[in-house]
Amino acid sequence: MAQVCYGYYKDTKIDNRGKDRSEWTESPFKTPDEYRDKPLKVFIDWDGFLVFDESADILAALANYMLEISGHGCCGRCFPGRVGTRLLAEQLMKMRAGACENSDIEKTVEMAESIFNSAKCTVAPTSTIPVRLFLTHFKDQITKQVNKDGMEFYRKVTAPCTAGCPANVQIPEFIEQIKDHRYMEALATIRETMPLPGVCGRVCPHPCEANCRRGLVDDTPVSIMVLKRAPWDFEYYNNKTPKLPEKAADKGKKVGIVGAGPAGLTAAYYLALMGYSVKIYEWMQEPGGMVALGIPDYRQPRHLLRREVDIIQSLGVEIEYGKKLGDEKDDITIEYMKKNYDAVLVTIGAWKSRDMGIEGEKEGYDGVFASGIGFLREQAEGKDTGVKGKKVVVVGGGNTAIDCVRVAMREGSTDVNLVYRRSRAEMPAEPWEIDDAMEEGVNFHFLWNPTRIIAENGKVVGVEVVEMVLGEPDESGRRKPEPKAGSEKILPCDVIIPAIGQFSDLSFLTEKDGIAVTKWNTFKVRDDLYDTTDPKVFSAGDCEWGPMTVVKAIGAARWSAIMIDRFLESGAPYLTEQETLEVSLYKNKVFDKAEKVCELETPTIHRTHQAKMSGEDRRNNYEEVERSFTLQQAYDEATRCLRCVRMAMVGLGTK
């Protein structure tokens, strides 16, 4: 970890100038001390600056930071941002050349303060922070003799929401484009890092919104997810031909992908754009993976998902259906993929369900479903689930459990129940999903746990449940439920659907494959590089990270595509200097609740809500529950964005 000589960061001055290296302070910004083998000398961001080498030319670094802010970091769409930062950079260059008097320094600080006070977004104001901290607290350093050998500078523009999004969508940019009524441009911005905006505009749990600073001002963050959907829906409903980036020249290499879920599709999209010929093998008869067969149509209409896949396939991506990865008995093997492709990406998801581990689960009773996702899949494939007119109990507290009860409702079950062993607060399902299910008439039974399935003549007639009490927090941080002795009772029912979690089935892997698996039954890959223990085989998505969100799979898959490209172009995956900075920023988190910068923005109009069908209207059909924003709604909501864009920069020594 890097050691700081001097600097000012998050209200703390660090000054170890003249001291021995061993006495330097550990960097408050977690960063490697080398970026692609080049020593880190200076780090500058919106919280201040850090110098890791006493002789580093900090004035050059600050001037360069301001120049980069002026020429790139700032969008140039406000006067102080566009011109003010430029003038500030020019002033710093004058200082470095020694052509500066005390009054010039004061003038520069004044100018910096004015930019801070006035600019439109956060880039220009935050960029003045390190400059002002330096000129105020390290004035003596201005005239110090430093090593004027060149440094290499790398910068990264980001925002709290962007950093909070696993796919790193440039959220402030596309929101700005919506505000300008430029929907197709907004969509192009989203597609730079997210090729499934229609899906993620509908089903994403939107961690970006938890990182939205509007939420600190108004209590409600910007409705980023629904805004993301707006331009995609505009393209679709207005019959526009998608404008995708130009494909790079054919690289003459083939990448084989296993699994046409969000991860596989995402990687295919970016690899195709990079000029690779891409083929996906999919074990089901339909693209989309868990999105198609695990997320019901009232949340993600299938024809819209198919359209999204068609757009990706318009780049020449081939998908072959009905091909399952496994051992010799199955359709394709790792060996086959390696033989036929220059690189292989495995994105097979997590389709195996956990057992409840209770009596009666495995006896083959009529009315016991093997798993929640199995139940959802039957429905999604158009089969008769057989729950019509039945009393159904779903066990579990995640989004899959919620989808199961809502589908059971729509399939015509007369009485739908969800049994969860903890309280509502601990439910992993998104709170709005729980509300939606409640509105549709699902009965929730919190702090109950099934203990035994009761059957008569091979047919389920009920389930025995026990009441639970919450004890001490367990390793997940949630309070551990304990059964309350003697509280058993019987919940009569005809159907039981366990939906308590999934994992990847990697049982087909053999030692001969040479691919390591983690203790969580996922592919073992190198951090940020996505290669498995076989250099030719990469993995991303649920089978690499464990069951997680669509957006997480998309984010990982895009990175894996970049790494596959590096592997094929230069023999091994690596992070560039800029990517090292980017990843460091994400690991340090950009969103900071305590951040003082520009915090006291004024409150604004209320969060806009999209039209939604009532519980009564939607409970018996698969029509999409939530509608798009109208364009006026999208504009109104977009104006709530605070544009928290900011830039970080590193100065590196040349090797």
């Binding site: 801070f116 600019a119 300008d180 009524h181």
Partner: protein
């Protein structure tokens, strides 16, 4: 009620209003440079910074919503220090060559700097030195540009052209054409009018005159039937430039075409057989030829761009000699259509108003090339799309330049508009039987078809234009389409015409009686002893116009009352030079039936009379009494049509509208597919009106270069341009 406190005084507001909105409404002055009420606020200039209690940083009033209880200070020292700093940022990088800048005298930056009392730059820095570029009729000086984005946003949000964009980031960003390296837009110049500095200039005005030397006169557009107000700046009796008034918009013709007044072919005096003469000689000649003619022996065809008073005077002339043989040129191109239109609606007037168009939530543009036929209507359509979430559908022989704002464009292949309308009406096809009936395919999604949206629409507009008329598609097809939309939803029907006062001719009774066809046959039968052409010039590519003009020679005497000696006047025995609408006073009727004023901008340079005076003059010779005063003609003939008997002509301001009524008869129609045959579609040269094109009245010499636009392609089909429908050959319309 919700209130905000500005400078210690409470003001009420409604949700969604900005601090600036509230301040402007209450006369509290907050400086701005990038704010325009008609576009989304940009928040670029930061001159509207105000202090909001509780907020650390200053807030831009234009983009900060008013919230209940908010306390705002618009005037304190901190606010002003920062506003001045913002202006300083601009001035440090803005060339201070005001003495040679065309904007001087009306430059917002100059005025603001003066008001702010800016004396010197706090730091010095190099001024930018980028080359000045010319995008066809518009000059862009990047050095002067302050990046306020008014041009980009007004082009995108008001004109539908979206011809400008911002390129690069930060200090290097600049305004540039969206497509290609020059502008290929409507050249309405909305951007020029909005530019606060001298960055965007009208190429014709560039270095032509100082603004303080101009004498300014406002009149209604003499090109557009939408009644746009145009301010002409004149110097020494010459028009130097034209601009929109206030927040208005004008067309390229308004802005750039005024030079036609000085064309060499202008008829400044009367002429006999092509030779200029004086009025006495013409009077003597005409007396001998036409005095005492019977009414039925006299016919008159009028252009669709005369003033209301001219129509009234000519009508008076005809009726007083007992002739009903007068007709508007519109009958030649739209006569058959209007006959059926009138059978359906009981009127030839348009239904609804331009405001209704702007307020619609669903618009069908059917066979109308708005850019070339009437850009004023396009501006209303764009207003509906941007400000009212309207769904816009085009049915045309092409995709138009505003296609990115169109929900779906339907192509009239082989010019078969009726067939295209059948497709418009279609609902989603029923899904094919599949293993999973709950899942549909994209082509079965009803939300991608019109009926689902029509069911939700509240206010629908149909616009039918010249392309439709030229295609030969049956009128019944589009009239039946009106039935498909339904009387309860269809609030405006606009039959579009590119002539400024076609509606004036309709309300004056120049349509629906005598027809152009009848005129041609009467001429050929030798029944017409005197033919008066009041400014009529047929479209050369129209065969009906051609045969009619050929028949003119059969008239005993052919008198052309015309601006120009060429065109149809070329074959007239007598040409009576006439004053243009820019050289006289009067009124026009807009396409939605409003009265708008025509004011004299320049004095005519010859001995011509006005049309009203000419009618009176001819009346005197034939032996009838026609008033030669436009003011009196207005009062006695025009005002009553508008139910404004007490109004004087000088009071006309665009607010008086004719009370309109219409019926609604169902149109019987069944589509039959015509044979597939190439459809030749004459289209107006981009900057039409027969003036500001390659066919300009000014010779295409280097001296007049600014007044010409090249006609880029004479002939285009789908083979050359994917945006053109199959089986359609677009050719430049000849005048």
């Amino acid at each position: 009620m919700a209130e905000i406190i500005i400078n210690n005084k409470p003001y009420s507001f409604s949700e969604g209003e900005s601090i600036l909105d509230v301040a402007n409404r209450n006369g509290i002055k907050i400086p701005t440079l990038c704010y325009l009420k008609d576009i989304t606020p940009t928040g670029a200039c930061r001159l509207c910074l105000v202090e909001v209690e509780g907020a650390d940083r200053l807030q831009a009033a234009c983009v900060t919503y008013a919230m209940d209880g908010m306390k705002i200070d618009t005037e304190n020292e901190r606010v002003w220090a920062n506003r001045k700093q913002m202006l300083d940022f601009i001035l440090i990088k803005h060339p201070l060559d005001c003495p040679v800048c065309d904007k001087a005298g009306e430059c917002e930056l100059q005025n603001t700097a003066y008001e702010f009392g800016m004396m010197e730059e706090i730091v010095t820095s190099d001024k930018p030195k980028d080359p000045v570029v010319k995008w066809n009729k518009i000059v862009y000086n990047q050095n002067l540009c302050v990046l306020c984005e008014k041009c980009i946003k007004s082009c995108h949000e008001m004109t539908g052209c979206s011809a400008l964009k911002m390129e690069d980031r930060g200090f290097f960003n600049h305004v540039t054409p969206s497509r290609g390296d020059t502008l290929k837009c409507d050249f309405c110049g909305t951007c020029i009018d909005r530019c606060p500095v001298g960055a965007l200039l009208d190429a014709q005005f560039h270095h032509a005159a100082r603004v303080w030397d101009l004498e300014n006169t406002v009149t209604s557009s003499v090109f557009s039937p939408c009644g746009e107000q145009v301010e002409y700046g004149t110097m020494n009796g010459q028009i130097m430039r034209a601009t929109a008034v206030g927040s208005g918009q004008i067309s390229s013709s308004d802005r750039f075409a005024y030079k036609y007044l000085d064309a060499d072919s202008r008829a400044l005096n009367p002429a006999i057989n092509g030779t200029d003469t004086n009025w006495d000689e013409v009077t003597a000649l005409l007396k001998g030829k036409i005095a005492g003619l019977k009414g039925s022996e006299v016919a008159l065809i009028a252009s669709a761009s005369l003033t209301n008073e001219a129509y009234a005077a000519y009508k008076k002339l005809m009726t007083s000699i007992g002739s009903s043989n007068y007709v508007s040129e519109t009958d030649l191109y739209y006569g058959d259509f209007y006959k059926k239109y009138a059978e359906k609606f009981g009127t030839m007037e348009n239904i609804g108003t331009l405001d209704d168009v702007a307020d619609s939530d669903m618009i069908f543009v059917i066979g109308a090339d708005l850019r070339r036929e009437c850009v004023g209507v396009k501006h209303k359509v764009m207003n509906a799309v941007i400000k009212n979430d309207a769904l816009l559908y085009t049915v045309g022989t092409r995709k138009y330049e505003y296609d990115s704002f169109v929900a779906k464009s339907f192509m009239a292949e082989y010019g078969d508009f009726a067939g295209a309308l059948e497709i418009v009406k279609q609902d989603a096809p029923a899904p094919k039987p599949s293993s999973n009936p709950k899942v549909i395919e994209v082509e079965n999604d009803p939300e991608r078809y019109i009926p689902a949206h029509l069911a939700k629409a509240k206010k629908v507009t149909v616009i039918v234009g010249n392309e439709y008329m030229q295609s030969g598609s049956p009128a019944e097809a589009v009239l039946a389409f009106c039935d498909f939309i339904g009387q309860d939803k269809l609030k405006s029907v606009i039959v579009l015409n590119d002539q400024v006062n076609y509606m004036g001719a309709i309300v004056a009774g120049f349509m629906g009686g005598y027809t152009a066809k009848q005129l041609e046959s009467d001429l050929n039968a030798g029944k017409i002893k005197l033919l008066i052409s009041a400014g009529f010039n047929g479209v050369k590519s129209c065969p009906h116009a051609k045969s009619l003009e050929a028949a003119f020679s059969k008239a005993g005497t052919f008198v052309a009352v015309d601006l120009f000696k060429d065109g149809s006047a070329k074959n007239a025995q007598v040409v009576l030079g006439v004053k243009d609408s820019l050289e006289t006073v009067g009124t026009f009727t807009t396409l939605d039936g409003r009265l708008v004023p025509v004011n004299r901008v320049v004095m005519a340079k010859g001995t011509q009379k006005t049309h009203v005076q000419t009618a009176a003059y001819l009346g005197e010779i034939i032996g009838s009494d026609v008033n030669s005063c436009a003011y009196e003609t207005f009062k006695s003939e025009v005002a009553p049509i508008f139910g404004a008997q007490d109004m004087e002509m000088g009071e006309v301001d665009g607010h008086i509208a004719k009370v309109k009524t219409n019926r609604w008869e169902k149109t019987a129609y069944a589509y039959a597919k015509p044979a597939e045959k190439e459809c030749i579609m004459p289209i107006n040269p981009r900057y039409h009106t027969n003036i500001m094109t390659a066919k300009s009245y000014l010779p295409a010499t280097e001296e007049h270069r600014e007044f010409h636009f090249p006609v880029v392609a004479e002939k285009v089909t789908c083979a050359e341009c994917a945006d053109i429908a199959k089986g359609v050959l677009c050719v430049t319309k000849e005048f």
